[in-house]
Symmetry: C2
Subunit: 393 residues, 2 copies
Amino acid sequence: MVKFNYYTPTEIVFGENSEYEVANLIKVYKGKKVLVHYGGKSALESGLLDRIYEALTANEITYVSLGGVVANPVLSKIEEGITLAKTEKVDFVLAVGGGSVIDSSKAIAVGALSKEPIWSFVGNIDIKKALPVGVVLTIAAAGSEMSSGAVITNDTNDLKRDFGGRALRPVFAILNPELTYTLPTYQTACGVADIIMHTVERYFTNKTSMEITDQISNVLIQTVMRHALVLLDEPTNYESRAEIMWSGSLSHNGLTGARASGGDWACHQMGHELSAKYGVAHGASLTALWPTWARYVSGENKERFKKFAIEVMEVDPSDKTSSEIIDQGILKLEDFFKKLDLPTTLKALDKDINEEDIKDMALKATHNNTFNPGEIKKLHYEDIINIMSKANQ
Amino acid sequence: MVKFNYYTPTEIVFGENSEYEVANLIKVYKGKKVLVHYGGKSALESGLLDRIYEALTANEITYVSLGGVVANPVLSKIEEGITLAKTEKVDFVLAVGGGSVIDSSKAIAVGALSKEPIWSFVGNIDIKKALPVGVVLTIAAAGSEMSSGAVITNDTNDLKRDFGGRALRPVFAILNPELTYTLPTYQTACGVADIIMHTVERYFTNKTSMEITDQISNVLIQTVMRHALVLLDEPTNYESRAEIMWSGSLSHNGLTGARASGGDWACHQMGHELSAKYGVAHGASLTALWPTWARYVSGENKERFKKFAIEVMEVDPSDKTSSEIIDQGILKLEDFFKKLDLPTTLKALDKDINEEDIKDMALKATHNNTFNPGEIKKLHYEDIINIMSKANQ
């Protein structure tokens, strides 16, 4: 029987110019001194940060700033943020950016209220204490703006690990599709892949699902695929940017997990190792693994893969065997990733990955053989070596 | 361009036996003295209230009880609850029931923190102060367990009016589909109608929609329709009860309103007058009006009605004129209501409604000619008389 918890308190303000609401929202959540956390030049050059600073000043909200968050956000920057937050006694963290900035902000928000080193929270999924975090989103991808999790990378040992808890759900997220107009094509594509995979990975479960959740998953994946292709030619199409941005939040806020299980996150877990070791963009790390993973495990739950092929990928099942249907479903998603110029093998990443590298990543992905990612099939060390090696041919 | 706000903080615990979580949840939201508010005998006789009282006692949460909430909850009972809440200094209101009990609880929660009479809040949709409300849901229908609104009836003058605000979103809702097994068929059907209409009324807008929101609306309506028919033969089918229960919450928590507008609530507003005057169940008041309303206004936005027919009601458009497509879409939903034995005209309500009654209701629904319900077509006094008279033939 289906059982689940659903908790999505993040307040969304969606639409053009919504970033002008930032000061009002911070006041609703009682922020008086804010750490504004961001990535690189784009937030500065676009004028977005200036608009935010102006809004804060006009509303008598004081702030300090910390930029320089990189993709796959690193521990050293987080520790810098925690020290700054404690020294300046900030009571609110505002993330201006995408998943990396949000996750870095969440880590700072936890660390600011703790005496323990932030890396000691890794693996904890029940964190209850953190400063409130607000978000001005600049890329539709991670869904971290409504999620309870964060993923950070330890730059001393290349480990990429997650943690989470109800205190990590941002209190608000400002979603202005226009802020994503100027993203490079590749980043938009990586974001699209991440969004789709958040729904796909929850979809692949051996446990009982719900029809309404499956149906919502179908339309989320299909809508994102359709509009991602529109953006290839029209990167400033407001409607398509809006559809993808809102779908990105819905794909990771819990809605697509309203069934009996959390799904199969093996690709995310293997992908984290690719990102930590080679700096591969998160979305690309997923597409480089998914087709090989899907073919490797599909025999373990043919019904689910068949349903995915027919209902999500709209494979016509007539005159086809189950295997043919399943293969075509996987192929259709793989082809879509190719259309977006995303890698669908490890080889396509062009990182010269060798056997030893794969063994190292398999060891890390299984936490030194103490953890087996996946649900459709629990992956052991050898499985991960098999999948990565096949994907590397 | 699409702009919207979305705020759905209610924590959901979904599944069998979930009512045993009630004390833990009240503690999360810092309740120490609870007003347990409920309707009639069923909550008592089923043993549900006893299970709740036991859980509260075991967790050292004190409580007082107030039962007797009727369908279309009345002001006099709410005033009784406010007095009790103030006298007993309760800090939490627990609604054990459906929409009427929840709305009555919300009103008590507002009144308990105010010196103003509760009826003075009618029409206010920005209420910011109320005691926290938790819900143990016993009928899938109103969606009030995740919504910001409440509707109450003044039993001194038969006015049924709404109010709302962020403070009125319940802090948690416990959804155990098994608690709805024993509902009478007619009540289940009325609930189904209410759920569908929450999505349908948001769907009918003249403003810009979003594809993802339309698609989610489609699958919500279709899933509820499919499982409502299953329940006609199998009222204790867990899966179907679960699909309808979760869809009921999603249909009214804001998800289906994530587009540029609030939709067309004319049927809800006209229906409230039927309920207030004749005690008609809320769901039945909607189905008695909707087909006539739809035919009366469909010319104002043919594109939207055509889309509804093709995408939601799955009318095959080939070899049909636009009018034929629109007519068949309306007919299909009307036929579905008939299959559930719901009235699809005023006449079918068997209340001997005459011309004077209709004029009285039209006057009330337009707040004495100061308010025009609807968006597809703003309804004036004469429009409401026309619609109700046609529906009464």
